[in-house]
Amino acid sequence: METFRILIVDDEDDFREAIMKRLRARKMEVAGANSGPKALEMLDEQEFDVIVLDVKMPGMDGIETLRAIKQKKPLVEVIMLTGHASVESGIQGMQLGAFDYVMKPVALDDLMDKLRQAYERRVLQLEYGRKNI
């Protein structure tokens, strides 16, 4: 299983730490951010393959953060994490280029599956970009 770099963005510390711990156990490189601005800051400093982004956060929300992430790094894949189903944010997120939506609570296997697909997509996209430049 290939290791890739994941950033978890969620304002709920316990949830974020728990998921980071479990992903690390699966040999992933994981970092965490407790807010949108913090995530953007980290994105300036280091490369990530996939970002797991909570939709509902105080201040800068997930949709706003997604927009900013895609402007900074269009090829980073983002999986939206949402506590409650929201059609509007769903449509908005997909249009802004989110890879998928995951509903809380999420089984780690499911999340892992989606992370893997998102990573695969990023690799394909990078390859495609290389071929066409």
């Binding site: 189903a85 059609v87 997909m94």
Partner: protein, 316 residues
């Protein structure tokens, strides 16, 4: 001798001949006459029939040709209509874009002219004023750059990334995403997912966008109390069908041909951009599939998406 006329061989009198013939050859002659008559009649009939056939052939041929010409003309008109609709959409898009970029340009021009004016004054330049002007110009340049970057990203995203997609799962995920809202509106969502559906090679995020959009439209068409049925099934050749049926308000015959047009919407102002379905249409086309709609006012609508099992990415 009762007959006074000398009877020479070969010189029989007419009544005699007639008699002779009547006695010995009548059946022969009648048969011959019948045959000749028959031939004549059948020849005549054949001629008439041939003439009729020829005429009708010509007529049918002419009719067919007329139909072909009419079809061609209709096709041409359709094509032209499509083309003009596309141009209209492009026009609207460019108008929006021009507006977006003209606004920062206008500010930049005002600030630059103001700075030029300040520089030409005889008294020393007011530095705070100059700096604020330059800052404003930089801000507007950034704003314009953002617009062009977004456009570029948009264009880049047009290229599908092909991965194995489990459609049943994808549909299930999207149904779950709308579950809360359907519940609030008392809408039942029925999923009929074919268990033997093969996984397809396609672009998952783009498909999610389409399914979510169609589910959202179905929900808005129903508003309250109704049923959305979403199904997947394999179909020939090498394709799969996704159908989304709602028991909503339906779309009238007049509007039906326009619903995939960009900027066309039946929703109240501010509720829809008129881009949802046109984006779906564009996405499905890029994924090598088709999207069609059947609808009846008051009964509901069915959107059918057909996708190839294997998508070979096309170069743009």
């Amino acid at each position: 001798m009762t007959d006074s006329t000398p009877h020479l061989p070969g010189q029989e009198s007419w009544p005699g001949l007639w008699h002779h013939l009547a006695v010995y050859g009548s059946s022969w002659l009648v048969a011959m006459l019948a045959i000749i008559l028959g031939m004549f009649v059948s020849l005549l009939l054949g001629l008439v029939a041939a003439l009729a056939a020829g005429l009708s052939f010509l007529t049918i041929h002419r009719l067919l040709r007329q139909k072909a010409v009419a079809d061609q003309e209709k096709h041409l008109v359709d094509e032209q209509l499509l083309q003009s609709q596309k141009l209209a959409a492009l026009g609207k898009l460019s108008a929006g874009l021009a507006h977006e970029i003209n606004n920062p340009l206008a500010i930049i021009r005002q600030e630059a002219e103001w700075l030029l004016f300040l520089c030409r004054q005889s008294e020393p330049l007011d530095m705070t004023e100059a700096i604020s002007g330059l800052r404003q110009i930089l801000k507007q340049v950034d704003r314009s750059r953002e617009i062009t970057t977004n456009l570029l990203n948009f264009a880049r995203r047009q290229q599908p990334i092909v991965q194995a997609v489990n459609l049943n799962r994808l549909v299930g995920d999207m149904v779950r995403l709308v579950a809360k809202e359907t519940e609030q509106r008392r809408i039942t969502v029925v999923t009929q997912l074919a268990p033997d559906l093969p996984s397809i090679n396609s672009d998952a995020p783009l498909l999610r966008q389409v399914i979510l959009n169609l589910l959202n439209n179905a929900m808005q068409a129903i508003d309250q109390d109704g049923t959305i049925t979403i199904s997947t099934q394999p179909t020939e050749p090498e394709a799969i069908l996704i159908q989304i049926h709602d028991t909503g308000c339906g779309i009238s015959k007049e509007l039906l041909p326009r619903i995939f047009d960009p900027f066309f919407t039946t929703k109240p102002q501010g509720k829809g951009t008129g881009l949802g379905l046109s984006i779906c249409h564009g996405i499905i086309e890029r994924l090598g599939g088709t999207i069609t709609v059947a609808s009846e006012v008051g009964k509901g609508s069915t959107f059918t998406v057909k996708l190839p099992i294997t998508l070979t990415p096309k170069e743009i």
